[in-house]
């Protein structure tokens, strides 16, 4: 073990939850040139109650404007090993499946060029290599690129898109999120590596409204699988659930857990007759009943995606969730997802032209107004885009009768 004294950190070693301190300590043995000082600085932070990093904006690899985040310590004399401690973002395979072979390759690179510490994964979904020096960047990149691994987004770029595991393993997936996001990621390579937007732009895709990749809340453009037709019912399995309902030991209650929790109250259950009826025209596709009875209920067959735009963290104008732009878009693999790409194109064109500096697309929409924004993107107004129509009378009528004409006519 490293001989750096870290009495405070040591209290977080071991335990039942895997310890990050132990990870750093192991790497301090393995790659001491960075990690002894990493430990030292962290222990200092734990004692003086503050971080000790400074941002560095200038690091990168030739030709790319993204993928590297510069960091310097503010106490270089005490911890020269982390005087520079930049991170490298690498695009992971969509869906985050790996072979040990692939992982070992990446780990080998990182042992060679960096601290051996990493995040699997960053919250945007990148592989994060944590801590290296400026003059190692190009060298590392030579090797990664040669092996077919690419750098991820950062800065005012299209960030690394991400997907839930979707059809690879999930019975609820309405769209093939992994195929879609792999395709889109390749489509946005230039925008990902050469930031030219007013600010960052994130794309995430979830296979259904459960939204396991948090697209609705954390991506400027969210693609979320949905269906248009009826929820499919497996009659035999439904019978089993009714049986479960009637057995008090099972703790399963068809009325309280299913019907009464339906947000649109469109499920009628008759436990005596063992019937369940869904008024699908009122169903908001929330997934709840399907989640509760995954064997009996299934998403419909006429599937596509809701397209939402504008989610973001609070800075500056307050947090936003994505707002519905297109209530239903077919996600057509055979057409190379052209409809979606067209929308993306239009969005970027408008935003590059009209977005203000450091203004996320959601803030642009708020500023110009949703109705106006839809018009610019040639999208139809649809009541699914709103919770409710306006309650204020400040309507800007741009259609009205021309008095001269009327008078003349």
């Amino acid at each position: 073990m490293s001989d750096v004294k870290t009495p405070m950190l040591d209290e977080l070693s071991g335990g039942q939850w895997p310890s990050f301190v132990d990870q750093i300590k192991q790497e301090a043995v393995h790659t001491p040139r960075y990690n002894n000082d990493m430990l030292k600085q962290l222990e200092i932070s734990y004692s003086d109650n503050r971080g000790h990093w400074k941002h560095g904006g200038l690091v990168g690899v030739t030709g790319y404007g993204a993928g590297i985040i510069g960091r310097y310590t503010d106490i270089p004399n005490e911890v020269p090993g982390v005087a520079q401690f930049h991170t490298v973002r690498v695009i992971p395979p969509t869906g985050l499946y790996y072979t040990t072979e692939a992982l070992r390759f990446l780990m080998g690179i990182w042992n060679k060029y960096g601290s051996g510490l990493m995040n699997l994964h960053g919250t945007t979904g990148d592989i994060i290599f944590l801590g290296t020096r400026t003059n190692h960047l190009e060298l590392m990149w030579d090797e990664l690129a040669a092996a077919g691994w690419d750098l991820g987004g950062s800065g005012s770029s299209n960030r690394t898109p991400s997907a839930c595991l979707g059809k690879s393993r999930c019975d609820a997936a309405c769209i093939d999120t992994m195929d879609l996001i792999h395709n889109i990621t390749n489509h946005v390579m230039d925008e990902l590596h050469r930031p030219a937007f007013p600010y960052k732009f994130k794309i995430k895709a979830s296979g259904c409204p459960n939204d396991c990749v948090a697209a609705n809340a954390r991506s400027d453009l969210a693609i979320i699988g949905i269906w248009k037709d009826d929820i499919r019912i497996n009659a035999a399995e439904l019978k089993n659930y009714f049986a479960k309902h009637k057995d008090p030991k099972q703790g399963f209650d068809m009325v309280n857990h299913v019907a009464l929790m339906c947000p649109s109250r469109c499920i009628e259950v008759d436990v005596n007759a063992e019937t369940l009826n869904i008024r699908n025209g009122e169903c908001v596709k929330c997934m709840h009943c399907i989640n509760v009875m995954p064997k009996a209920l299934h998403v419909g067959e006429d599937t596509g995606a809701v397209i939402l735009m504008g989610a973001k963290a609070p800075i500056v104008e307050g947090a936003l969730m994505g707002t519905v732009l297109v209530p239903f878009m077919k996600m057509d693999k055979d057409d190379d997802y052209q409809d979606f790409k067209d929308l993306l194109e239009k969005t970027w064109d408008y935003w590059e032209e009209n977005g203000q500096n450091r203004e996320r697309i959601g803030e642009t929409i708020q500023r110009v107004g949703l109705a106006y924004f839809l018009q610019q993107l040639e999208l139809e107004p649809n009541p699914n885009q709103i919770n409710a129509p306006r309650d204020n009378p400040y309507i800007f009528y741009d259609e009205f009768f021309d008095e001269e004409e009327e008078a003349a006519g």
């Binding site: 405070m8 950190l9 209290e11 071991g14 335990g15 939850w17 895997p18 990050f20 132990d22 990870q23 750093i24 192991q26 040139r33 932070s45 734990y46 109650n49 503050r50 971080g51 000790h52 400074k54 941002h55 904006g57 030739t62 960091r71 969509t94 985050l96 499946y97 072979t99 040990t100 992982l103 042992n111 510490l117 919250t123 944590l130 190692h136 190009e138 060298l139 030579d142 690129a145 077919g148 691994w149 690419d150 059809k167 690879s168 393993r169 999930c170 997936a173 590596h193 409204p209 459960n210 939204d211 948090a214 954390r218 857990h257 596709k285 929330c286 509760v292 963290a313 800075i315 947090a319």
Partner: protein, 372 residues
């Protein structure tokens, strides 16, 4: 140069660098899918939780895929990862996966491998769980480990909270999933703005301007422009140009410090942690919700952050014993009302809880719906 590369190789590399491939995107995921998944891609019919941490997925073919999910500290070293790879080689034909919450998953075609795999993981001190009505891994950020604007440490707080919640990770004992998130500053790189329980590092004082170094290190116009709220303005200090911060306009985002290292935002005694509750992302039942302020300030108290751990414990316990099955934290609070939430948790309701930002109007109780 800390890397072991010969001068020669360096030169060689520089020569070929112009032709280095670029924009190749991610490797195609298909090559990383375990065979059982490749065979049944898109054909899954249902899933069932066999025990906490283990899910069976049944495909139309009749085949099943068994998932074993275990914890990861997210901040991992290659040493530890090598040991995980060994487990994957031994039990899962060399395949493994990460979830969107940093957990590690092994997808097995063979049901009989579940128990030995779990035994192996537990022997390595790695808990199995995080599925269904549990508290899964915490979505979190860099903290003092790597970010410059952090008001607290991410990994440290997460470690303490998960240590406390280990039973909830390993069991399905809650009314519903409880998604916990941590972010170290208002940028909220974690999912703090929409989590059942969110822990947010906060600065409470504006950056301090180091007038003596500022002109050396930073450009004044750029520094002024860096502030999203326009709180920074040029000034002259001791005859030297510098900047000053209008306190009432600063919302402690640290963006100025990103641009200019002479404006550190840290403040050892005033930085701390706030707790937020009731957010969610899923569209199940209610629409996605933002997290709402529960506790405006708890002190940074490393290495154990006992105040934070206890606050989370309190929320989890009160929720667990009061919510109905399938009710997320936010849905539960919406049903019983915020007055009851504060009563049950014993948290103090203060002026800080009352919104005063742009959309505050919509947070006011414009009705007689009152609870006593």
């Amino acid at each position: 140069m800390w890397v072991n590369i010969s001068e020669e190789e360096l030169k060689e590399r520089a020569a070929v660098r112009k032709k280095r491939p670029s924009d190749m995107g991610p490797p195609h995921f298909e090559q990383f899918l375990p065979p059982v998944i490749q065979r049944n891609y898109g054909q899954w019919e249902w899933h069932e939780f066999l025990r906490p941490g283990v899910i069976e997925y049944r495909a139309a073919s009749g085949e099943s895929c068994y998932v074993v999910r275990c914890a990861s500290p997210r901040l991992v070293g290659t040493t530890w990862m090598e040991s995980i790879c060994k487990v994957a080689d031994e039990f899962a034909d060399g395949y493994l996966r990460f979830t969107t919450r940093f957990n590690i998953e092994f997808n097995l075609a063979d049901k009989s491998k579940i128990e030995p795999l779990i035994a192996k993981l537990e022997s390595m001190g790695i808990p199995v769980g995080g599925t269904a009505n549990s508290i899964s891994n915490i979505t979190h950020t860099q903290g003092w480990v790597h970010c410059h604007t952090s008001a607290s440490d991410a990994s440290g707080v997460v470690k303490n909270v998960m240590e406390e919640m280990i039973g909830e990770f390993k069991g399905h004992k809650l009314p519903q999933r409880v998604k916990v998130a941590f972010a170290c500053c208002l940028n909220m790189c974690g999912a703090v703005h929409c989590s059942d329980i969110a822990i947010l590092g906060i600065h409470r004082r504006p950056p301090k301007v180091n007038h003596s170094t500022l002109t050396n290190l930073c450009e004044i116009p750029t520094t002024v422009a860096s502030c999203p709220t326009g709180a920074i303005r040029p000034t002259t200090v001791n005859g030297k140009p510098s900047v000053e911060v209008v306190e009432s306009k600063c919302m402690y985002c640290g963006n100025c410090y990103t641009t200019c290292p002479s404006m550190p935002i840290h403040n050892a005694i005033n930085d701390g942690i706030s707790i937020w509750v009731g957010g969610k992302v899923a569209n199940a039942r209610s629409k996605p919700k933002f997290s709402k302020l529960a506790i405006p300030f708890l002190p940074n108290n490393p290495p154990k952050w006992p105040e934070v751990t206890q606050a989370v414990r309190k929320i989890v316990d009160v929720y667990a014993s009061n919510a109905k099955d399938w009710e997320r934290v936010g849905d539960w609070i919406d049903r019983i009302g915020w007055p009851k939430f504060f009563e049950l948790t014993g948290f103090e309701f203060t002026k800080y809880h009352i919104d005063d930002y742009k959309l505050a109007t919509r947070t006011m109780n414009m009705s007689c719906h009152i609870r006593f």
